[in-house]
């Protein structure tokens, strides 16, 4: 069903890399485990960068500091993978989102501390967030607490198994084809809709899934 015109893909998914890593780790194959871990780093990098970009916009982390956050999320993922006993990559995808937000909040906290220290040292009385459009400490804490509550959310795969059947037929087809990597033209042909109809179906499917997501977790 895939209709791709791009150059041939390498054909690996992060889930396969994770499975290889776990198999090599459990077999005591150090070289294999390293190779799989490196492949996993490549395959999740854009997902991490995207989640960090979203979290950074929400928390006010400047562009210049995002790479540090991206690296920290990579390290958290490797740490989690090292002891991974989970059932699917979905748990790691959720971890990426949560850690990206947490690290951005940490980054802002660090800036708040540094500004406060600087204010203390030069005798001024700078209050975090009062003058530069950055969040107040209370807002940072609230944002962090909100994500801390979702910390234990885990398996996106289980969520999708529950949620996707609740979409209406056309939304479900769009979501499933997107998840299979089918391109937009092919989905339009299958559903006999225009591109702009497809855009709306995608958006509605996403909005519905967001609502179900909040209900599920």
């Amino acid at each position: 069903m895939r209709t791709r015109s791009d150059p041939p893909s390498v054909g690996h998914t992060d889930e396969e890399a994770l499975e290889r890593f776990v198999a090599c780790r459990d077999a005591g194959d150090e070289d294999g485990a390293k190779l799989a871990a490196k492949e996993l780093v490549e395959l999740v990098h854009d997902r991490i960068s995207g989640q960090v970009a979203i979290a950074a916009r929400r928390t006010g982390v400047p562009q210049a500091e995002r790479d540090d956050v991206v690296q920290e999320v990579h390290l958290s993922v490797i740490g989690a993978v090292h002891d991974f006993r989970g059932s699917s990559m979905g748990e790691l995808h959720n971890l990426i989102k949560v850690v990206a937000h947490r690290r951005c909040v940490d980054q802002i906290r660090k800036r708040v501390r540094q500004r406060a220290d600087a204010g203390h040292l030069d005798g001024t009385s700078w209050e975090p967030g009062e003058d530069d459009g950055r969040p107040h400490q209370g807002e940072i804490d609230a944002a962090w607490e909100q994500h801390a509550r979702t910390e234990e959310r885990s398996d996106a795969k289980a969520f999708l198994e529950w949620a996707v059947p609740q979409l209406d037929r056309r939304q479900r087809v769009v979501w499933e084809r997107d998840a299979e990597g089918v391109d937009a033209e092919a989905i339009c042909v299958e559903l006999r809709v225009t591109k702009s109809n497809l855009y709306q179906l995608r958006r509605r499917a996403n909005v519905k899934l967001q609502s179900l997501y909040r209900e599920y977790f």
């Binding site: 791009d6 995207g50 979203i54 916009r57 690296q71 979905g90 959720n94 540094q114 997501y213």
Partner: protein, 219 residues
């Protein structure tokens, strides 16, 4: 009500993601009016959590490997020196600090004696050369180092624990006995060595600088 531009931005992102064209979140958020960005960000966040792995070509994978963050993390996985050996120079250079400057900051921040400066600098150089086991660094040291380098303790600790050695299978616990015919000779030689070690003068106790660099997390 979401505008057509927002729905199109989400749709275009999904298409680009699935085709392995590496869409950047910021580019797509910038395409929609400000009031709609939060909603689009929510939708992109959900997509990024649930989306399949993009269909990357070999050339794209090469481009991802060439990104500095990916290159650093992958190099740390391969090397026994670990990520901190790569991170320290990078963070130093970003603040235009020499190893000596960082050592001075540590001596001051940790209230060490001025005569500890040379050894602190020496330890830092060994960390950067990958000649020091960074899993032995103490929390106090990493706190001070984070302050000096504009990083966080958690970040430095994560870098300190990532190295190729972390992927090495742990050895089996306990003692393995084997009934070799000449086992008695080996045991006798081992006992001799242990006896000599027991009679040798005890090594000098660790001082504060040693504890900071070699004493482990709680030192």
């Amino acid at each position: 009500m979401t505008s057509p531009s927002s729905a199109k931005a989400l749709s275009d992102f999904i298409d680009a993601w699935n085709a392995g064209r590496r869409p950047r979140v910021d580019d797509y958020l910038d395409r929609v009016p400000e009031p709609e960005r939060d909603e689009l960000a929510d939708q992109l966040e959900l997509w990024l959590e649930l989306a399949p792995t993009p269909d990357f070509s070999a050339a794209t994978r090469e481009a991802i490997r060439a990104e500095p963050v990916v290159a650093r993390v992958q190099a740390a996985i391969e090397s026994d020196a670990g990520l901190l050996a790569l991170e320290l120079p990078r963070l130093r250079e970003r603040r235009s600090l020499s190893v000596h400057d960082v050592a001075v900051a540590l001596v001051s921040g940790l209230a060490l004696a001025s005569e500890d400066l040379d050894r602190t600098e020496d330890y830092l150089e060994r960390v950067e050369r990958g000649e020091h086991d960074t899993t032995k660094l103490s929390r106090r040291l990493l706190d001070a180092l984070a302050g000096a380098l504009g990083s966080t303790t958690e970040s430095l600790r994560a870098a300190a624990t990532l190295s190729g050695a972390a992927f090495r299978p742990s050895t089996a616990g306990g003692t393995l006995f084997r009934a070799d015919p000449d086992a008695g000779q080996f045991v006798e030689a081992d006992l001799d060595a242990l006896t000599r070690a027991a009679m040798a003068p005890a090594p000098e106790a660790q001082d504060e600088v040693d504890r900071l660099f070699c004493g482990g997390w709680e030192a």
